[in-house]
């Protein structure tokens, strides 16, 4: 098996799996219980949250644990019912929520980067929230968050000067970023940030929302008041311990990963034939998005599957809905280019040998399919 879909899911790393184990059946206590063993579990949980916070330059208390990134995005956007500005290429867990309240999409250029002028023109005095992912999940494109934050700072200053009390927040979904980017909330200038354990070799169904001081959120889930009242429900101790371990591990590997994926990306781009590179600029090195003109990439997915190579077209989510990827539409690709687009996302399961092998097989499969199409 050669797995080239790490943007869709990552396997739980051994270290993470080990760290989680005892919390399923030995240290299983409810952290809210009164007795000492439960208090120890509560302390471990808080420590894990501190580790997650530490990875992004925040405190445990700034972190709200959720059941995954989708829930974290939903919670973040629940900060306001006024129209939300969101990047047109955002994941559905932002887009669908924003659209519900009449949100407006901010355009991107052909590389998938935010058009800052478009953003500026769309901010009104009613705007309370802008949501721009740090790394796009289909293209791997990195957004210039600190530049956006600078614009927001100016607007805040201007609002205060004019006596307008409406706050303006920046939310960013950083789910895809943590393996290669050194993320720091202060440096990025975000007020709300989504993290996802499932993309950093941690367990699925665990996410987190960083909430800066002073940002007043409304809970979506009410009950026992856990997570500062923002996300009730008994704490997922093994999940959060796993998440903390995973994010710490990712942090340790960032420098090595960058070199490794840059080299592998080069190998892919030089050994593959007859493609057009879609994510040319500002992309994470483990994302390679290609277009094979005149070929239906979905067929390639199934043909490669037979050879034990697992890839996706666009984002797994968009393809499985049977609709054209809104991200690829947004960067101006034609229908045919979208149909021919293949997303390869490299990760920890890969070796250099595998990358070369994959390139060879993809070339063969594409050539065969091209021959079939042209008859």
């Amino acid at each position: 098996m050669i797995y080239l879909d790490h943007a869709a899911a990552t396997p739980v790393s051994e270290r993470v799996f080990e760290a989680m184990k005892s919390y399923f059946s030995v240290d299983f206590f409810n952290p809210s219980a009164a007795y000492l063993p439960a208090k120890k579990v509560a302390a471990d949980y808080e420590n894990a949250k501190a580790m997650i916070g530490h990875a992004i330059g925040a405190k445990a208390n700034d972190i709200v644990i959720t059941a995954g990134a989708t829930e974290a995005n939903n919670l973040a956007l629940n900060v306001t019912t006024s129209p939300i500005l969101f990047l047109v290429t955002e994941h559905d867990s932002v887009r669908k929520v924003a659209e519900q309240y009449g949100g407006e999409a901010i355009a991107v250029d052909k590389n998938g980067r935010i058009l800052l002028e478009d953003l500026k023109s769309k901010i009104t005095d009613e705007t309370m929230l802008i949501s721009v992912s740090l790394v796009n999940n289909e293209l791997g494109v990195i957004q210039p968050l600190s530049e956006i934050a600078a614009i927001i700072r100016d607007i805040r200053f201007d609002r205060l000067k004019r006596g307008i009390k409406t706050p303006l927040y920046l939310h960013s979904d950083a789910s895809q970023a943590m393996n290669l980017l050194d993320v720091n909330v202060a440096r990025l200038g975000v007020d709300l940030m989504t993290l996802n354990a499932a993309k950093v070799y941690g367990p699925k169904g665990v996410g987190a929302l960083y909430v800066a001081h002073g940002v007043k959120l409304q809970p979506l889930t009410r009950g026992g008041g856990q997570e500062n009242g923002l996300r009730s429900g008994t704490e997922n101790v093994p999940g959060v311990v796993g998440f903390a371990t995973a994010i710490a591990e990712a942090k340790e590997h960032i420098n090595g990963n960058r070199k490794k994926y840059a080299a592998w990306r080069k190998i892919l781009l030089s050994e593959l034939h007859d493609y057009e590179l879609i994510n040319k600029k500002h992309a994470l090195d483990n994302f390679v998005v290609l277009c094979y003109n005149g070929i239906d990439a979905e067929r390639l997915v199934f043909l490669l599957e037979e050879k034990g190579i697992y890839v996706s077209t666009g984002a797994a989510c968009a393809a499985s809905k049977g609709v054209r990827s809104h991200v690829l539409v947004a960067i101006g690709l034609s229908d045919e280019e979208i149909a021919g687009s293949l997303r390869l996302t490299m990760g920890e399961t890969n070796t250099e040998e595998q990358i070369r092998e994959a390139a060879k097989t993809i070339n063969e499969v594409v050539a065969k399919e091209r021959a079939r199409v042209t008859g």
């Binding site: 979905e298 067929r299 499985s320």
Partner: protein
């Protein structure tokens, strides 16, 4: 197995012929595509997108089905397309269905889907695209009917294989003569092309899976251009073949009933479109109010569940269930009874509307041939009463072909003929007499819900059918 000496199952070589096969992602249509490919056809797989809407509590599985279909197409190395009939399906099938329910009937959307979508729009689009045939994964067969008796030829076997080299039968103008080779294990015969006079819709070999109940209204024209590649196979054989050929959906759970209704059931589906309208449940004998319901249109005659009965203790809860025996749509009353012999439940006759009798002139030949030449007449293999017992002189009076569903059909035979009838998919065939609009049963039957189909057979042959009034 002895069967008619007049019916052939043509199996052409696919070489040089183009077929569009409807692929749903299930094992039946997947194996159909596989067989066509192996027979040398130029095969194009098509996923018909008829419904994609998720309803509360009902996730529409269309994307998974589409992916399953496409994966098979890729594996077979055939072209694959998605044809969007969503609007047409809504207008022609869903609207029809809702309208029928509003009138208090229990329609069968699958029958309508085959008539209006699969064997009409899909067929027409395929022909426009240069198809020789369409194909589906239905369990049914297309027989070609001819009359050999005048040639003095004798046959004993049914498994004829059509000629490899011949173009399809319709390519020739009617009346032109062309030789057709028909082979069977014992002999090869040269037949004249114009001996094949019509195509018959015939029951599948797999008695459990036969789907002619849903196909009886499809047009003659479409049927002539239709292949049912698995109609001669048993379901276990289909599954086994899928396994052997490594088709991943060999183990896929079979979809049951109307796809978009899914697991949730028709009543919940209907509630998305038809407002709840509380009304009374009355005992039919006493007119006593026993409880209340959510709208008479949601109930079906014979239904036992979902009745909110709270009548006098001991009277209602004496262990005997109440059945719905009648519905008053204008006054929104559901009538129930505990009497299993209630006259509303049992009947010895059924009136049909929108009757379709399959076949055109050949059908008449078929009927009259049976009357005039009993020795060559069709003998049902399943001990069904045969038509030859009855003279069918007036068959010309019946409207032939496919009427539009909205038109009603009032012609009668001068004398009822013996046929067998299926009142539900997979229900047993019941002997009955049919006079063109009414079915007469020797023994009383449980009355099916109005709006359902009664499908008529002579042995293996589907003669047509109608909607129960």
């Amino acid at each position: 197995m002895k069967t008619t000496d007049k019916i052939f199952f043509l199996s052409h070589s696919g070489r040089g012929r183009k077929v569009f096969v409807g692929m749903s992602g299930g094992v039946d249509s997947s194996v159909s595509a596989l067989l066509l490919k192996e027979q040398g056809y130029n095969v194009v797989g098509v996923y018909m997108k008829n419904w994609s809407r998720d309803l509360p509590g009902m996730k529409c599985p269309w994307t998974e089905d589409l992916a399953d279909a496409k994966r098979v197409a890729v594996k077979l190395g055939i072209d694959f397309e998605v044809w969007d009939f969503e609007k047409e399906y809504h207008d022609k099938v869903v609207e029809y269905m809702l309208e029928e329910f509003r009138r208090g009937n229990t329609p069968n959307p699958d029958v309508m889907c085959n008539q209006e979508i699969k064997f009409k729009l899909f067929y027409e689009k395929a022909m426009k695209r240069g198809a020789d045939y369409i194909a589906t994964g239905h369990y049914a067969r297309v027989g070609a009917e001819t009359d050999f008796s005048s040639d003095g030829l004798e046959f004993s076997s049914t498994s004829y294989t059509g000629t490899p080299a011949e173009p399809s039968l319709r390519d020739e103008p009617v009346g032109s003569v062309r030789n057709i080779r028909v082979e069977n294990p014992n002999q090869t015969l040269i037949l004249q092309k114009n001996r094949f006079q019509s195509h018959l819709l015939m029951r599948a070999v797999d008695e459990n899976k036969d789907q002619t109940y849903f196909l009886y209204r499809i047009s003659e024209e479409a049927l002539e251009h239709t292949l049912f590649p698995i109609g001669g196979m048993l379901k276990p054989e289909v599954k086994k073949l899928a396994e052997e050929k490594g088709l991943h959906n060999a183990y896929k759970k079979e979809s049951m009933g109307v796809c978009f209704v899914g697991e949730v059931g028709m009543k919940d589906f209907l509630k998305e479109y038809i407002d709840i309208k509380p009304g009374e449940i009355r005992e039919i004998e006493s007119e006593k109010i026993l409880g209340y319901h959510e709208g008479a249109v949601f109930y079906t005659i014979g239904q036992r569940h979902g009745l909110y009965l709270d009548g006098v203790k001991g009277e209602v809860n004496d262990g005997l269930p109440y059945y719905v025996v009648a519905k008053g749509i204008p006054n929104n009353i559901v009538y129930v009874s505990k009497n299993l012999n209630d006259e509303h439940i049992w009947t010895d006759e059924l009136e049909l509307k929108d009757v379709v009798i399959r076949g055109s002139t050949s059908r008449e030949n078929y009927f009259s041939g049976l009357t005039s030449q009993p020795s060559t007449s069709y003998t049902g293999t399943r001990a069904e009463p045969s038509l030859r017992d009855e003279p069918v002189r007036s068959v010309r009076n019946i409207r032939l072909g496919l009427p539009n569903l909205k038109q009603s059909q009032k012609s009668n035979f001068s004398r009822p003929v013996n046929i067998s009838v299926r009142l539900r998919h997979r229900a047993p065939l019941i002997p009955a007499k049919f006079d063109g609009t009414k079915l007469y049963f020797e023994n009383k039957i449980k009355r099916p819900a109005s709006g359902q189909s009664a499908v008529l057979y002579d042995g293996e042959i589907c003669l047509g059918g109608g909607i129960i009034a």
